[in-house]
């Protein structure tokens, strides 16, 4: 690639951006055994997990939200108890909106959440990203 100030950097930045890409453990160079657990493993949250909600197309919220929610929580409860109180701070949010006003995605794939089903049964995992776009 060439910069707009005319400098040829001669590099290609291709990376596999597949959202569910599984990576292997690479070789570790260290002064001794080096194997420590994740500081955010799901077990640290008991029956709960972290769930991200990305309101795509609405720049009012500079980043996706991160919630701690029970795995068994229904999507309807998640919407009413966590998602709406966070997003209604946007002056353009309408109290009449329901999940049907949005298109949904889960971890980069189209998704149709059933309000009565639990997050876990809907495939929402620890640190998953739920994407919502206003229809």
């Amino acid at each position: 690639m060439t910069t707009d100030t005319g400098i040829d950097t001669g590099i290609d930045t291709g990376i596999d951006t597949g959202f569910n890409k599984v990576i292997e453990r690479p070789e570790i160079r260290s002064i001794g055994a080096y194997d420590f657990p994740s500081r955010s493993a799901q077990e640290l949250y008991g029956d709960d997990q972290l769930v991200h909600v990305w309101y795509d197309g609405n720049p009012w919220f500079v980043a996706a939200a991160c919630f701690r929610a029970p795995k068994a929580m229904s999507f309807g409860d998640f919407w009413a108890a966590l998602l709406v109180p966070y997003h209604e701070e946007d002056p353009d949010w309408l109290a009449s909106w329901t999940p049907a006003d949005f298109e949904w995605g889960l971890d980069d794939a189209p998704w149709t959440p059933d309000e009565g089903a639990s997050l876990a049964s809907l495939g929402v995992g620890h640190k998953s990203v739920i994407r919502m776009v206003k229809k």
Binding site: T5, I7, T9, K21, F36, S40, A64, C66
Partner: protein, 515 residues
């Protein structure tokens, strides 16, 4: 028996500076005979770097202890004279505005503690590198870094008497969400091996990015009436140029010692450019938004200090060794039109949990930003127009919850795609059954090389949710952060703003007199 003193001999010839330097370094070096060399220097092989001849290290500067202390004492005397004069004359009242000090709060909370950490690690290098030349150069830098930490703290302590947000910077540095960005950056370097540290801090931080990290704060001080910080900046400048030559010598030495070192060093350049560049997001927003009197835009600074000086100069020279520019440099170039706007928008909507204040930019600033960024700022300006309406209706945009963080840089994930610059960039990989989220290809790439290291990241949002930060509600967390009322939130109406108006109103009345 009495001892008679020896008769004074002929006066010894005074050694030249070069001879004294040689005596101090090479003459104080020896080959170990009680233990093998790799037992005396146990940390210089595990990273895979091959050094065949430490004597090939060319000392980038020749300093002796007496010369060093003499220079530094002179500079300290000049700085302390300025500090005294500024304090005695109530110099803080001649700043452009109290809001300027938000930049200095960020500096004291985020940067000064890194100087201390740099001091520690250069002290470690001055013990653990095999060669006497790099050991002594590291010792000098170690002394510089602790002096910088001390003089910065001393310089900014005067503002702590009058302004909020300066009081608990060390406590905050270890705990607060936005300070985990610079802290985790440096912890990553401290927990690496000595050669990676040399490339991470000695080269990438002190050479590649130093003008973007350090100069904007000092120029900002000079443009906004902050004489003490400006004087500190001058005092540190001669040290910084020494640090730059050390960083450059370090990389050339590693590359010349063995061709097998080249790919290792290339990966460290790729990694540490991106790690350091992500930290500069804090500098970018400071330049474009926090300074009441502007110096230059982030875009101009990036083009001058990075594109022209580094890509156009340094990397042309490093090409000789087979070194390419950092792999994600293209993304940084594309982001120069966006970075400051996205970073300030993050800080603006989370400043209720910060030890600095933010505010809607003035119309003058909005116009200036539009001149500097004609292609991109109109889109960001629309957000400020929406917020102005929100404020007029009695609102203030503070997010009611916690954001998604990047596992590597730890910044709330507000950065966007290169090919769709107003769409948030979402990346993720799964490692040993757990998902990890990233703000960019650069951060994802770093994780993929060291997942076992980065899965231990202390992410502030996750730690709050685990109950490790004082409690479940915002008040508990603020208390655990060491924050006091008035440290953060909106600038207009804050204690700093009210005091500023009161102090200046009083001064005005005294000049107007009775009539």
């Amino acid at each position: 028996m009495t001892l008679t003193p020896d008769k004074p001999k002929a006066k010894a010839r005074k050694l030249s500076m070069k001879e004294r330097y040689s005596a101090l370094t090479r003459d104080l070096d020896w080959d170990p005979s009680y233990v093998p060399a790799d037992e005396m220097f146990p940390y210089t092989t595990f990273e895979g770097i091959k050094i065949h001849d430490w004597s090939k290290w060319e000392d980038p500067f020749r300093l002796t202890v007496d010369a060093y202390t003499k220079y530094q004492a002179e500079k300290d005397r000049r700085l302390y004279a300025v500090l005294d004069g500024f304090a005695q004359s109530q110099g803080h009242l001649s700043l452009t505005d109290a809001s300027y000090l938000n930049a200095m709060k960020l500096f004291l909370q985020g940067v000064s503690p890194l100087e201390y950490q740099a001091h520690r690690n250069f002290a470690y290098l001055s013990r653990h590198l095999n060669g006497p030349g790099p050991r002594f150069a590291s010792l000098c830098q170690s002394l510089d870094e602790i002096r910088h930490a001390q003089t910065e703290i001393h310089t900014l302590s005067n503002y702590n008497k009058y302004y909020s947000g300066f009081h608990s910077y060390l406590h905050m540095h270890d705990r607060v969400w936005y300070l985990s960005v610079p802290k985790s950056f440096f912890d990553d370097a401290l927990s690496a091996g000595p050669f990676e540290f040399l490339i991470a801090i000695g080269f990438s931080f002190e050479y590649l990015l130093t003008n973007l990290l350090f100069v904007p704060f000092m120029s900002g001080a000079s443009f906004n009436g902050d004489l003490p910080t400006m004087t500190f900046g001058f005092s540190a400048q001669s040290d910084e140029s020494r640090h730059m030559t050390l960083g450059l010598e370090a990389i050339k030495f590693l590359l010349e010692q063995d061709p097998d070192n080249v790919p290792i060093v290339q990966h460290w350049i790729d990694k540490w450019f991106w790690r350091g560049y992500r930290v500069t997001a804090l500098v970018a927003q400071m330049l474009d938004y926090m300074l009441p009197r502007k110096v230059m835009s982030w875009k101009e600074a990036f083009e001058l200090y990075f594109e022209q000086q580094m890509l156009g100069g340094l990397f042309q020279d490093l090409a000789y060794y087979g070194i390419k520019p950092p792999r994600d440099v293209g993304k940084a170039i594309q982001e120069k039109e966006h970075l400051s706007h996205q970073a300030y928008w993050i800080l603006y909507q989370f400043s209720h949990a910060a030890a600095f204040t933010t505010s809607v930019p003035s119309d003058e600033t909005l116009d200036w930003l539009e001149e500097q960024y004609p292609d991109t700022f109109p889109t960001y300006r629309a957000l400020w127009d929406k917020e102005k309406k929100n404020v007029a209706n009695g609102g203030r945009h503070f997010v009611r919850g916690l954001p998604q963080l990047c596992q590597v840089c730890q910044i709330p994930m507000g950065f966007t795609e290169a090919d769709s610059p107003f769409t948030i960039c979402q990346r993720s990989v799964v490692f040993e059954g757990e998902r990890y989220n990233f703000c960019s290809d650069g951060c994802q790439n770093i994780f993929e090389h060291e997942p076992v290291k980065f899965r231990q990241a202390w992410l502030p949002v996750h730690q709050i949710y685990q109950g490790n930060c004082g409690g479940a509600d915002l008040g508990d967390v603020m208390q655990w952060y060491g924050m006091q009322p008035g440290d953060g939130g909106e600038y207009l109406g804050s204690p700093d703003h009210q005091n500023w108006l009161r102090w200046h109103a009083q001064a005005d009345h005294s000049e107007l007199g009775e009539d």
